[in-house]
């Protein structure tokens, strides 16, 4: 057992980014991952970390409109960028169309993979991908252990249909 000591100060860097429309600045260690920066420095815990290996997709956020795995990016790499996380999807308190479709089609169970899927599908929608492309190429890059994907696929189809795409 050791006596608690004052931790040696690590070399800190300031990261400034537009997060969900608001300019945010925080001190962070140069080696900190973007996922940890968002979750623990900015308190945006809606972004989840399932593997930190770039495989599961739970940590997906949009950086300058592009879906990225925030566990594969350093926080300092996001300096000066525009970041969107799951917390920004509901507008004026209303769930987005795809969020509603996910609820109606039971596209989530434990909800841990959900924010990443919401972000990737939102990007696909903005890019004008078809429902077919979204269920194969976009959803294909995410792991969900709970749902068997059927409800998520149904939510994509239902939402795309509703939006007349």
């Amino acid at each position: 057992m050791t006596v608690p000591t004052t931790p040696a100060p690590a070399r800190m860097r300031t990261v400034t980014a537009t997060v969900n429309g608001v300019t945010r600045s925080a001190e962070t260690e140069p080696r900190a991952l973007l996922s940890d920066f968002l979750r623990h420095d900015l308190g945006l815990t809606g972004t989840h970390v399932g593997c930190e290996q770039g495989v599961c997709g739970a940590c997906t956020v949009l950086v300058d409109d592009v879906p990225v795995r925030s566990c594969l990016l350093l926080a300092v790499q996001a300096d000066g960028r525009r970041i969107e996380t799951v917390e920004a999807l509901a507008q004026d308190g209303e769930l987005s169309g795809f969020q509603r479709a996910m609820r109606d089609e039971h596209g989530l169970q434990c909800g841990f993979c959900t924010p990443g899927i919401l972000m990737s599908v939102t990007a696909a929608e903005r890019e004008g991908l078809t429902a077919e492309q979204t269920t194969t190429e976009v959803l294909g890059g995410h792991v969900c252990r709970c749902t068997g994907y059927q409800g998520i696929r149904a939510a994509i189809e239902h939402h795309w249909q509703e939006a007349g795409r």
Binding site: M1, T2, P4, T5, T6, P7, A8, A10, E29, A32, R39, H40, L44, T45, G46, T47, H48, V49, G50, C51, E52, Q53, V55, C56, A58, T85, V86, E87, L89, A90, L95, Q99, M102, R103, D104, H106, L108, Q109, C110, G111, F112, C113, T114, P115, L118, T135, T136, G140, H142, V143, C144, R145, C146, T147, G148, Y149, Q150, G151, I152, R153
Partner: protein
């Protein structure tokens, strides 16, 4: 009052979205790593790098002298400050009844040996690297065969062998041998099921806070079993249970992997206690894949005897279960359940099952969704298929010939399980019928086939008398509490816990129906040992809905009567005149009204009650049914086998399922589909393998542990049969695990149907391209 007989606009039976999805979709889930980090210190676990050996030196001086470590605890400190953790379910012959925390002999790679605490996780992990551990290596025992070899190194030399314990169910083997000797036909096969990582997307994690002034420990844990964690933490840390509170925040999946207190979690709690601080440990994915208890892992020799007509005369299975380095909380449980459920929906002249639990130098095994019943379905349905092929009979015709008939219910099996209800042939016949329209032609190099299997499963694992008989230290009953608050809102408590399965919504539907109030008035609050009724079994074994649901029906009926009585006295009329309409009580004769809220207020003031009535507006009921209620199903799969690559594609999958009365078919379907997807992972993809020489785990990331992706899971077609359980108030049966049990057997049999040339070799999962290709090559079919 039973829901099964109700009709019309009841909430029970309504397909409706879940109540907390809105919050989850906004990113407002609150998992353990999301809890405010103010003042939190971070732990990293020091783990064994070797599979087997004796620790000769544990030197943390570099970490301690770095000036960065807030605390380092190694085996010596842990040994001084803790006691071993208790177990719940043991097997005859088991020599260790507890899980050691202070490790001097390492027995698997990843075994927790100590803990480092620092200001953040990265620093704690760096410091853990600085700890020097010298291990005198011992040869690693990898796999069941190696463990049972005559000259095998022993994990516990003092125990005299690597057999951890054993048990037999049903008639003695000699009796069965005589039946096999007299059978017209005997099929014998050796089957295996790989080790599986339950792989919830949220790994394990705990945040522990010890307050020195009040001597209270609070633990926020990603667990299925807060009460079990509480009692084990108390034992491990030498506290009274009432010094410990365990709170379950949102849990990001569990699947059996979070059904105990693990040593690394106990060490985190110990660190908090030593420091008088808040200490958090969040498992990373590599730790989860290598050091969280795994599921499955068994080999079984099975014999099936048939008479000249194809009737099953005898069945025996001898299961060797790989328990790993020690028997975890209920380490032999899954193997015992595999044995107990070997007969499934069929009649046998006689049937018995033997279990031998075996130590190996691998992470211990334990609960994984399906809990032995995936394994028994794999063995049983595959050997029936093999028998049909050897006899030149249609497999489904053979199944139907031997299926237990509805008029034989209740039916007691050879292993002494008493099935309560159901029409087993009906679901089988329907699934066969559904398959007829799903046959697709083979092409030159793509072979196609279909298969149907049958299954029966233990759900609502109870009653306490049965658990006492087996000396299983889990609470076999379940409790529900309904409190009508002073403002009329209704809070529901139960010992079951949410982990993504949607139990909060289902219980709210039940209670709203029983009380007759709108759903919005109900709040289901689970997972906090300070408020939840005791249940150390909690949410596992497909028991939450049938047992907690039944308890809440009874509690709700009583509470409704009490509220009606209070309303009648407030209105000055007889109780038979009072009707509840939404949130207003109305007197039939006078038309006078009083709101539900006012009645609740009067109740808490103690006004208007009969002389002997209790005041507390709370009803608590513990439900302990007379027996286990059994769900059952038939599954069908259509597969394509690529003869050039060995790749199997599941093109169609369907099931006919009977889980009794369904509370929310949307949730029930989601449970079945999600479990089938996991079952397909076991069938085709997933394997937690170990290096045969060193015992090093080979699957340490999601690049080498392959989970099913969307493309691996076809849209699944579900039909429901509803046979209300005769022994569960409300008629419910469990549904959480039914999907996962038959997929491996169903897919295996469909492959056999597609490529009969390799059928006899389809004995081990995963049926990966390399395994299939090897069989194709042996059959001369490869590309």
């Amino acid at each position: 009052m039973t829901i099964a007989t109700r009709n019309g606009d009841t909430l029970v039976g309504k397909r409706m979205p879940r109540l907390h999805d809105d919050r989850m979709l906004r990113g407002h889930g609150r998992y353990v790593d999301d809890i405010d980090e103010t003042g939190v210190l971070h732990a990293a676990i020091i783990r064994s790098p070797a599979a087997h050996g004796t620790i000769t030196r544990f030197d943390a001086s570099a970490a301690r002298e770095s000036g960065e470590a807030v605390l380092v605890l190694g085996p010596d400190e842990i040994g001084r400050l803790t006691d071993p953790l208790p177990t719940t379910w043991r097997i005859p012959g088991q020599h260790l009844a507890a899980v050691e925390l202070a490790i001097r002999t390492v027995r698997y790679v990843g075994q927790p040996l100590g803990v480092v605490v620092a200001r953040n996780r990265a620093v704690a992990e760096d410091l853990a690297e600085l700890v020097e551990i010298d291990i005198d290596p011992l040869p690693a025992v990898v796999g069941i065969e190696a463990a049972l070899a005559p000259d095998a190194p022993l994990l516990y030399p003092e125990h005299g062998g690597n057999v951890a314990g054993g048990i037999h169910f049903g008639p003695p083997v000699e009796e069965l041998d005589a039946l096999f000797a007299g059978a017209a036909h005997v099929v014998e096969r050796e089957f295996a099921v790989q080790r599986i990582n339950p792989s919830p997307m949220e790994p394990r994690g705990v945040l522990a806070e010890w307050i020195p002034s009040t001597e209270q420990l609070t633990v926020w844990a990603s667990t299925q079993v807060p009460h079990l964690v509480r009692q084990e933490v108390a034992v491990g840390l030498r506290l009274r249970v009432d010094q410990v509170r365990v709170v379950t925040p949102d849990v990001g999946g569990a699947f059996g992997g979070k059904t105990t207190l693990y040593a690394d979690e106990a060490m985190t709690c110990l660190a908090a206690k030593v420091l008088g601080r808040r200490v958090k440990w969040i498992e990373d994915r590599t730790e989860n894949l290598t050091a969280s208890y795994q599921g499955r892992g068994q080999q079984a020799r099975c014999r099936l005897g048939l008479d000249a007509d194809g009737r099953f005369t005898a069945l025996h299975v001898h299961i060797h279960g790989d328990v790993g380095a020690f028997l975890s909380t209920a380490g032999s449980g899954p193997f015992q359940v595999a044995a107990l459920t070997i007969e499934g929906p069929y009649r046998f002249g006689a049937a018995g099952a033997t279990v031998t639990a075996v130590f190996t130098n691998a992470v211990p095994t334990g609960a994984y969704r399906g809990y032995g019943m995936q394994e028994s379905a794999w063995i049983r349905e595959r050997i029936i298929d093999e028998a049909a092929r050897e006899l030149g009979r249609d497999a489904n015709e053979l199944r139907l010939l031997n299926t237990i008939q509805p008029e034989q219910m209740p039916y007691t099996t050879g292993t002494m399980l008493t099935y309560d209800s159901g029409d087993y042939p009906a679901v089988l016949r329907r699934a066969v019928e559904m398959g007829e329209t799903r046959r697709r032609p083979s092409t030159d190099r793509i072979r196609r086939g279909i298969a149907v299997t049958g299954n029966v499963e233990i759900t609502g694992f109870a009653p306490s008398a049965l658990l006492e008989m087996f000396q299983i230290h889990w609470s076999g009953y379940e409790t529900g509490t309904i409190r009508v608050n002073e403002d009329g809102t209704v809070t529901v408590f139960s010992g079951v816990t949410p982990m993504g399965q949607g139990i909060e919504t289902a219980l709210a539907q039940i209670v709203a129906d029983e009380l007759g109030v709108p759903l919005e008035m109900i709040s289901v609050q689970l997972g906090d040992t300070a408020t939840a009724p005791y249940s150390n079994f909690s949410s596992q074994a497909s028991r939450s809905l049938p047992l907690a649901g039944a308890a809440l029906i009874t509690a709700g009926a009583t509470m409704r009567e009490r509220m009606l009585g209070l309303a009648a006295r407030a209105l000055g009329v007889g109780v038979e005149e009072v009707k509840l309409d939404g949130t207003v009580f109305r007197a039939g004769t006078t038309g006078a009204e009083v709101t539900w809220r006012d009645v609740a207020h009067r109740g808490w003031m103690g006004w208007g009650r009969g002389e002997t009535d209790k005041i507390l507006l709370e009803e608590t009921v513990s439900f302990d049914p007379p027996g286990i209620t059994y769900a059952y199903s038939a599954h069908g799969a259509a597969v394509a086998v690529d003869l050039d690559t060995g790749k199997v594609t599941v093109e169609d999958y369907w099931t006919v399922n009977d889980s009794g009365v369904l509370v929310n078919p949307l949730i029930a379907d989601g449970q079945i589909i999600g479990a089938i997807a996991q079952g397909l992972g076991t069938a085709l993809l997933e394997e937690a393998a170990f290096d045969p020489e060193t015992g090093q785990p080979l699957a340490t990331s999601y690049l080498d542990y392959v989970l099913p992706l969307s493309e691996d899971v076809p849209d699944i077609v579900i039909e429901h049969h509803v046979t209300p359980s005769p022994i569960i108030t409300g008629g419910f049966k469990g549904v959480g695990e039914s999907g996962i049990q038959p997929p491996a057997a169903t897919v295996g049999n469909a492959i056999a149907n597609a490529v009969p040339e390799i059928a006899a070799g389809l004995t081990a999962t995963p049926l990966s391209p390399s395994r299939i290709w090897t069989l194709l090559e042996q059959a001369g079919l490869e590309g």
